[in-house]
């Protein structure tokens, strides 16, 4: 009979792979947009490749982010089954892994929501594209850190250990906040969320759409559309 440990290994590899694909696609799309910005001084072959690839990369990245969020949730479930429930909170490393997994899921969900909210036109705005890319990179970093903790739990070591040694971080130590600090952060965050939503509503930008007309003054970016090189030829 296949144990939950084996199933969790499978799902962990799955979400790791899907989210890595998502992060790589988003980063490559950003690079392709930069190539498009400097297309006058770039070799034509590179510009052509960037133009051809970015549409596929953006779409793949979006799909991978959404799939990755579901895969993360599935992984969290199999992980909770794999570890003995009565000993779940005995281990600080497990607690840290749970916390980081929730953070990673939240951040990836926010990445997906940003892409859903603004659609492809987000790539026409350098600042929003940068925001989207940085969020994906940070989310990937937290996902990797959670994975590193998982490796420590199962193998006692992680391929990222050299990174922790390099930066002098001991990821095995408990990172839980004190109750007071958690409460303060929660209250401040809630106030910020409510304030921002109110401001967005009052200022009328809650329905704001991004687009080339608004964002291409500096970047001259257009949307990464699949098959656009054929359109360009015509």
């Amino acid at each position: 009979m296949v144990g939950w440990e084996s199933i969790h290994s499978l799902t962990a590899e799955m979400h790791g792979g899907i989210l890595t694909l998502a992060a790589v696609c988003i980063i490559l799309t950003a690079l392709a947009q930069i190539v498009m910005h400097f297309q006058q001084s770039m070799p034509k072959s590179i510009v052509k490749a960037a133009m051809r690839a970015r549409g596929y990369l953006d779409a793949t990245g979006y799909v991978a982010v959404v799939a990755g969020v579901f895969a993360l949730l599935l992984s969290a479930f199999t992980g909770s089954q794999a570890w003995p429930m009565d000993a779940l909170l005995d281990n600080a490393v497990v607690r840290n892994k749970i916390v980081l997994t929730v953070f990673a899921t939240t951040l990836w969900a926010m990445v997906a929501s940003v892409r859903w909210r603004f659609g492809r036109p987000l790539w026409t705005c350098p600042s929003m594209a940068a925001c989207y890319t940085v969020l994906a990179i940070v989310a990937m970093g937290i996902t990797s850190t959670a994975g590193s903790l998982g490796a420590h739990l199962t193998k006692g070591e992680s391929i990222l250990d050299f990174v922790w040694n390099l930066v002098g971080v001991n990821v095995l130590q408990d990172l839980l906040l004190s109750m007071d600090l958690a409460l303060i952060i929660s209250i401040i965050s809630l106030i910020v969320i409510i304030a921002v939503l109110v401001i967005r509503r009052l200022s009328g930008i809650s329905q704001e759409q991004l687009g080339q007309r608004k964002c291409t003054k500096w970047s001259k970016w257009d949307e990464p559309i699949i098959g656009e090189e054929k359109v360009a030829k015509k």
């Binding site: 953070f103 951040l107 940003v114 929003m128 969020l135 006692g156 839980l176 906040l177 704001e208």
Partner: protein, 591 residues
């Protein structure tokens, strides 16, 4: 424009809230509280009130610099004729420099609960039970620091009543020991050839690693100052079997932390050469020139480099190639029994030999000797389990005894056949052993045969700690379990924590429930040792960190951390995207 209005409205809301809320909060402020010295000469008459002091933590334990200390001044009884009554805390008696701050204390909160904090608190009514709480931060300076309590009241006469002092011992918090993690080889690994011992040594906060030392079976084999250590070890230099690899890290405060793993070295070492003397036969009578020949079988992968033929310590011939032979001139020796030993050495300096007894009989007067032949085990055999020594003896005279000696020690004597002895391999140490069977007839003439065997025996038990699985902080009740691979059965398995025996068991599963609250917070050494039926032992050890103080409510803290982190992530993303949209809106001229 609408945005500016919205921001202004928000600011106005905050201001209105502040204006309303702050007075409500400050309503509880008790006017007349103040910083007030001990003033031992201000009030001269003893009050009728009873006053006591208590603290948390207790003064019986040292506290760290900057630790939070709660002081209660309790007053009971009643006062008549007073116009005001107050309680205070002070760092010393005397009329000056007696405020807690004069001795390095910082008051975080006072009984009034107001934002403005004093060491003196006036209270009403002037009767009944009162308990006044101050929360303070301990001084940074180490040493003893006292706090005094005092009740003062004035009216028709100025009264006082003292309590305390509570004297705290402020000590620096001990720095934890270095944490060592051996990442390779894994505990219970079977290794061969050259291996690398790798891992990390992490100093506790506030310390740094000064040295990392590799010990194998207690002997130092290397050292470094790198926190990411890597030691090359050639296991050929170790005997096959269990060995303990220990890495000890020492920090700049001479605190040490270590981790040990037990590995089994299993190098394919060629067996010793096996020598079989073909001619003459054991016990044979010989005269004149005698051709002595032997066959030699080298171990796998080895070659024979030298074969020596000797009587006693005198070599009468040697050979380096097949067939190995030499000529013995028996005329050079007196008549009687002599031992011919043929020794072969291979290219790895491993040796094997066989000895036979011949009777030189050039004068024709030499007596017959008992002829011994060891049938089992064979010369050069490698023995891993208990075995029988079986010999045949032929003699022309009645035998008085047939003796078995292993390594020169008697293992038994028989007067009649069959000549069979059972030998427990666990009674022999690993390594080569000489087995000698000597027969003595009734004329006191002795004949013997001697062979060489090698005993590998069993290995010590191998212990692998299954849980805890990783370093990190633990709290509450945890399961400590181990998997034990027995060597020669299991006598018992012992769990020790910080060197103290906690539990033991004689049969699997070796699993125990341990309450970490019974141990002080900090690094804790978990050791599980298994002892087999022949007394050999193996162990595994790891250092874990116990943190009950910070983890009393891990589930609640984890939930709070998740809520705080999730909300802050959502807030951050909303702020970022909103900021970008504002920026775009402005640059793009609005939607």
């Amino acid at each position: 424009m609408r945005t500016r209005k919205a921001i202004l409205a928000l600011l106005a809301l905050i201001l209105v809230f502040s204006a309303v809320a702050l007075p409500v909060v400050s309503k509880s402020n008790f006017s007349g509280n103040q910083q007030y010295g001990y003033c031992d000469n201000c009030h001269s008459a003893s009050s009728s009130m009873a006053v006591t002091m208590e603290s948390s933590p207790s003064i019986s334990n040292p506290i760290a610099p900057g630790a939070t200390v709660t002081i209660w001044v309790n007053a009971s009884g009643s006062v008549t004729g007073a116009t005001q009554v107050g309680a205070l805390i002070a760092s010393t008696t005397g009329s000056s420099n007696s405020l807690p701050s004069n001795d390095g204390w910082t008051i975080q909160s006072d009984p009034s609960g107001s934002a403005t904090i004093y060491n003196y608190y006036k209270f009403t009514p002037y009767s009944g039970q009162h308990s006044f709480k101050w929360v303070l931060t301990a001084p940074q300076a180490t040493g003893t620091h006292s706090l005094y309590g005092r009740i003062l009241h004035s009216g028709s006469q100025e009264y006082f009543k003292n309590a305390g002092p509570l004297t705290f011992n402020v000590q620096s918090v001990p720095v934890g020991v270095p944490q060592v993690t051996i990442t390779s080889p894994l505990n219970a690994a079977v290794v061969s050839g050259s291996i690398t011992v790798t891992g990390t040594a992490i100093a506790a906060s506030g310390a740094s690693i000064s040295s990392v030392v590799l010990n194998i079976d207690g002997a130092q084999k290397g050292s470094t100052t790198s926190t990411t250590f890597s030691f090359a070890v050639d296991t050929i230099t170790l005997l096959n079997g269990a060995h303990t690899i220990q890495v000890v890290a020492t920090d700049n405060g001479a605190r040490t932390g270590s981790q040990s793993v037990t590995v089994t070295v299993n190098n394919a070492i060629p067996a010793n050469p096996i020598v079989l003397i073909v001619s003459p036969s054991n016990g044979q009578k010989v005269i004149g020139s005698v051709a002595v020949s032997a066959t030699v079988t080298a171990g796998q992968g080895a070659t024979i480099s030298y074969v020596s033929f000797r009587i006693g310590i005198v070599e009468f011939g040697n050979d380096t190639s097949q067939p190995y032979s030499a000529t013995l001139n028996s005329n050079s020796y007196a008549d009687g029994a002599h031992q011919i030993e043929v020794t072969a050495q291979d290219n790895g300096a491993r040796r094997g030999s066989q000895t036979i007894t011949v009777v030189i009989n050039n004068t024709g007067n030499a007596p017959n000797i008992p002829i011994v032949m060891i049938v089992n085990p064979l010369n050069g055999a490698v023995l891993t389990s208990s075995f029988n020594v079986t010999a045949t003896v032929s003699s022309s005279l009645p035998l008085t005894s047939v003796d078995l000696l292993i390594g020169g020690a008697s293992q038994g004597s028989k007067t009649t056949g069959p000549y069979v002895w059972a030998v427990n391999v666990n009674s022999l140490s690993p390594g080569p052993h000489m087995i000698n069977v000597t027969a003595t007839d009734n004329s006191a003439t002795m004949g013997f045969q001697e062979i060489s065997v090698s005993v590998t025996g069993h290995v010590a038990p191998i212990v692998h700690i299954d849980n805890p699985t990783a370093s990190g902080a633990y709290d509450g009740s945890i399961t400590i379990s181990a998997n034990v691979t027995p060597g020669n059965g299991i006598s018992y398995v012992v769990l020790r924590i910080n060197g103290q025996q906690v539990a033991n068991s004689t049969a699997a599963p070796f699993s125990w429930q341990v309450n970490t609250a019974n141990y002080p917070d900090g690094n804790t050494v978990v050791n599980i040792t298994a002892v087999d039926l022949s007394g050999k032992h193996g162990y595994s050890e790891m250092t874990v960190s116990i943190d009950n103080a910070g983890q009393e409510e891990p589930l609640i803290e984890m939930g709070a951390t998740i809520v705080a982190g999730t909300l802050s992530i959502i807030a951050l993303v909303l702020v970022l995207t909103t900021a970008v949209m504002f920026y775009r809106n402005k640059k793009g001229g609005g939607s």
